[in-house]
């Protein structure tokens, strides 16, 4: 008997059919993976189930009874819990305080924390979540915070757990841990819906896989009956190259050299504590690390958005340590920012206006302060064609493009500028396989044309498939350098999370690692 059943759920947004008669069943003790590209309608469907959206048509059955889920509160009462991609926790409060928030036990306004703590501990122990009820959220790692979210859903009596892209923010070790937790939950009789666009995860965790495309379910399968290539084909609707082909790096002259750089973050704390490395033309250097270990500050100082407190940055022998963003662009640095909607694009601008951002003072876009709309439109149409941006016209607002196409606009602008150095930060974050394939191909093409590429990412697969050389950053220091042939996900993950970090860090304290270009030659 299905715990949760959806029948022909249909949900339209203006001009878009987000869910087109989607049906699914979830049994007790089952993990169903909802796989699909961004915008395939997975999240819409689950938001309908969780009461955040109301379906235009279709039926929802919980325990074989028809229900109309009006709000998340109602969903929770029915035993449906959701862990969002972005956690909804109050950082200064403790785990217990967060979990009881909104439905505090006790009477007359006095919260019975003892009972609450007791229950939190019970649940944590039963599913071996290993969460300390008294820990402050702010002190917890991302993976731990996610478990608090899961714990919260369980505390509220969830029997069905919806996990929306739960691995997006996790390290490989944390992903393994999460899978273990989810397994133990279903062993105890719960059910889970796992939303993702990552193929290997689906194979690893799901009992059953539902593939969605363009708002409809296009296939249902099981991990044993398919493989990643088959899933990718179902998801995208065509054959997809999953791992990019690339030749051996042809290392040329040094393009970027970073020497003992110290950088402060926005709170004036030292985020980068003496980093040195060099990249040569024709090389992709990846900096791997868990988010928040100084990568952002490092990238910002290379592209001229932040000034190092110490050290020097040189591009082809020119000192760009104190260059601002404009000087940096003019020196030949291109930057694919980690957050395309915040830093990469002006969403209210159309594609053409976005394509020229950064080059908007120079011919062909403008000279002497006067812009040339015709030349701009022409350039934009060329980029749209060259970079396969799917749009009816260059005058479409960036805001109305899909994430993948938005990223293509950024990539088209930054690579189209023909830079000496391409700094790509999380270039495929939130993209689906088709778009990832495209971005990866572009980055490799850039390398093969003799340009230097600095790739900053916490997607290990990306690191391993793109990089020629890998630096692992941990707490503002480079703790390990690998040639890509010597690296694997496990080892990288180990160093990314501080494994052997203290020893290496001490070593670095006394003598900055002399990271040579020669080290990248292989």
């Amino acid at each position: 008997m299905p715990l949760l059943e959806l029948r022909e759920i249909t949900k339209a947004f203006p001009g878009v059919l987000a869910n087109d008669r989607v049906s699914m069943k979830l049994d007790k003790g089952e993990i169903v993976a909802l796989l699909g590209e961004n915008g395939a309608g997975k999240s819409t469907l689950m938001n309908v189930v969780y009461g955040l959206l109301t379906a235009d048509d279709g039926e929802i059955l919980v325990d074989e009874k028809h229900v109309k889920i009006k709000s998340p509160r109602h969903a929770i009462d029915l035993g449906i819990g959701m862990v969002h991609q972005h956690f909804m926790l109050v950082e200064p409060l403790t785990v217990t305080e967060n979990i009881v928030l909104g439905r505090e036990p006790g009477r007359f306004g006095v919260i019975d924390f003892a009972t609450a703590r007791q229950r939190v501990r019970e649940i944590s122990d039963r599913y071996s979540l290993k969460v300390d009820p008294d820990a402050k959220i702010i002190d917890l790692s991302v993976g731990m915070q996610q478990r608090v979210e899961i714990l919260k859903a369980l505390y509220q009596g969830a029997r069905v757990l919806i996990l929306d892209e739960p691995t997006a923010v996790l390290t490989p070790q944390e992903v393994t841990e999460l899978f273990r937790v989810v397994r133990s939950l279903v062993d105890e009789g719960l059910s889970a819906v796992f939303i993702t666009h990552k193929l290997e995860e689906v194979i690893a965790i799901a009992d059953r896989i539902l593939v969605m495309r363009d708002g409809a379910v296009v296939g249902e399968t099981t991990p044993s009956a398919t493989d990643e290539i088959g899933l990718a084909r179902m998801m995208v609707g065509r054959d997809v190259v999953l791992s990019v082909e690339k030749g051996v790096s042809q290392c040329g002259d040094v393009v970027l050299s970073v020497n003992d750089v110290h950088i402060e973050d926005d709170r004036s704390l030292e985020a980068v504590k003496g980093v040195s490395f060099a990249i040569c033309g024709g090389e992709i250097l990846a900096i791997a690390g868990v988010d928040g270990n100084g990568q952002r500050e490092l990238v910002e100082s290379i592209v001229g958005l932040r000034r190092p407190t110490r050290g020097t940055i040189e591009l082809k022998g020119n000192d760009i340590t104190r260059a601002n963003a404009r000087a940096s662009i003019e020196a030949g640095v291109s930057h694919i920012p980690e957050d395309r909607q915040r830093r990469g694009l002006v969403l209210e601008f159309n594609i053409a206006e976005n394509i020229i951002l950064g080059d908007h003072r120079e011919p062909p876009a403008a000279d002497h302060g006067i812009m040339h709309p015709k030349a701009i439109a022409e350039l934009a149409r060329k980029r749209i064609a060259d970079y396969d941006i799917r749009t009816p016209s260059e005058r479409v607002l960036a805001d109305s493009l899909s994430g993948g196409n938005q990223q293509k606009v950024v990539v088209a602008r930054e690579i189209g500028r023909n830079p000496e150095l391409l700094v790509a930060a999380q270039p495929t974050r939130g993209l689906d396989v088709g778009a990832i394939e495209f971005v990866h191909t572009q980055i490799i093409r850039e390398r093969d044309s003799g340009k230097a590429v600095l790739l900053v990412t916490f997607e290990l697969e990306e690191v391993l498939s793109l990089a020629d050389r890998i630096l692992v950053i941990y707490e503002g220091r480079i703790v390990k350098e690998f040639a890509v042939a010597d690296a694997d996900a496990e080892t990288l993950g180990y160093f990314m999370t501080g494994g052997g970090g203290s020893k290496l860090a001490e070593e670095q304290e006394s003598k900055p690692v002399e990271s040579s270009v020669a080290g990248g030659d292989k």
């Binding site: 947004f13 878009v16 915008g39 908007h360 403008a366 493009l401 899909s402 994430g403």
Partner: protein, 375 residues
């Protein structure tokens, strides 16, 4: 891919234009309806009131001239506000810059006595723009350097400007007489009335040219609107102004200095407000006194809001507010409705335009949660 949903920002996309002017027009209609209701409840005849208002603002060439007269500084101040808004800057102190512009025009005009008009008038206008820009410059630097909010600083500078003018017209610049005002500007420094361009015979033959007190400042305002539109559309200056307004982070990443753009934007805003003060002094009063502006800098905020910061839309928006203030007198005289009631209608227009902003803001928030399927 779904092309029907894709929003386009083409030059002449009629659907988009209709959507854009829909809410301002609806706001005005709603404001008139509710204003009528208030009149009716208060025992006045709204039909008589609004037809008198119309008579007093568009009913005759002279009435239309009065509307033009009052719209002129509103267009200029509205343009200044709109340009600032485009960079996400709220130059609430346009009134102060307007005062400084008026002061500069008056002081220089008196000093340039005896110079020909083709020298005097451009110099006065330029001086007023510089004065307005200078008055906005200090708040602009404070904003760019230490993040002091322009709403506070420009407002405080408005008080300074008003008191400076009040002091000058009773002190150094005072006309030797009883009234606290400057001497009359030499005629070469005055903006001529429109009807003075035509001979008496022409006016006799074509009485519809008798625009009364309307002066050539309207030409200055219209040119300014077109120039500003071109600046926003076809110059890197305007591009950077818009980029910073929409998304300062992306602008910064694209090598645009947000601080410098902020300074430029507020100064241009101030220059336009200064120009508004100059045309008022040079075209209407021909001298400076401390009440020469009836809050044009503040009404300019409403004009820019109603025009949704589009430089060309500022013209009809300013005409509407100009007409309401021009016709209010006739409304009181003919329909016996208190002038002040028109302030309620003005307030309602602003309210609905602002409310639309709030509504679209929330709609946008909701839309952000919706996965996009375009592309």
């Amino acid at each position: 891919m779904n092309t029907s949903k894709a929003k386009s920002s083409e030059g002449l996309d009629w659907i988009a234009i209709t959507q854009k002017i829909g809410t301002p027009v609806a706001s005005v209609i709603l404001a008139i309806l509710i204003g009528s209701f208030i009149m009716w409840v208060s025992g006045y005849n709204p039909v008589a009131a609004f037809s008198a208002l119309y008579q007093g603002s568009f009913g005759s060439p002279k009435a239309f001239g009065d509307t033009l007269l009052r719209s002129t500084p509103l267009i200029l101040a509205g343009l200044g506000l709109a340009y600032g808004f485009k960079a996400n800057l709220f130059n609430i102190g346009a009134e102060g810059q307007l005062f400084m512009g008026g002061l500069a025009a008056a002081a220089l005009g008196l000093a340039l006595a005896g110079q020909p008009w083709y020298l005097a008038i451009p110099l006065l206008l330029i001086a007023a723009m510089l004065a307005g820009a200078a008055w906005a410059f200090i708040p602009a630097i404070l904003k760019a350097r230490i993040g002091a909010h322009e709403v506070i600083t420009t407002m405080m500078f408005t008080y300074i400007a008003r008191y400076v003018v009040s002091w000058l017209v009773v002190g150094p610049l005072k006309d030797p007489g009883q009234i606290p005002q400057t001497r009359l500007l030499p005629v070469e420094s005055q903006l001529p009335r429109i009807q003075s361009l035509f001979s008496d015979a022409t006016l006799q033959a074509m009485p519809f040219l008798k625009f009364g007190r309307a002066h050539m400042g309207i030409l200055v305002a219209l040119i300014a609107a077109v120039v500003l539109w071109l600046v926003l559309k076809y110059t890197t200056l305007g591009y950077e102004n818009r980029a910073v307004g929409f998304n300062p982070f992306a602008a910064e990443t694209g090598g645009i200095s947000v601080q410098w753009t902020t300074v430029k934007s507020l100064c241009i805003s101030g220059a336009l407000a200064g120009l508004a003060g100059a045309v008022e002094v040079m075209g209407v009063h021909h001298r400076l006194f401390d009440q020469f502006s009836s809050g044009f800098g503040f009404t300019g905020i409403a004009v820019a809001l109603l025009a949704k910061n589009h430089p060309l839309a500022v013209i009809p928006a300013a005409l509407l507010f100009g007409a309401m203030s021009a016709g209010a007198g006739t409304m009181q005289l003919v329909a016996d409705v208190p002038q002040k009631i028109i302030l309620i209608v003005q307030a309602l227009v602003i309210f609905f335009v602002a409310a639309e902003g709030i509504i679209t803001y929330f709609l946008k928030q909701r839309q952000k949660e919706v996965p996009s399927h375009v592309g």
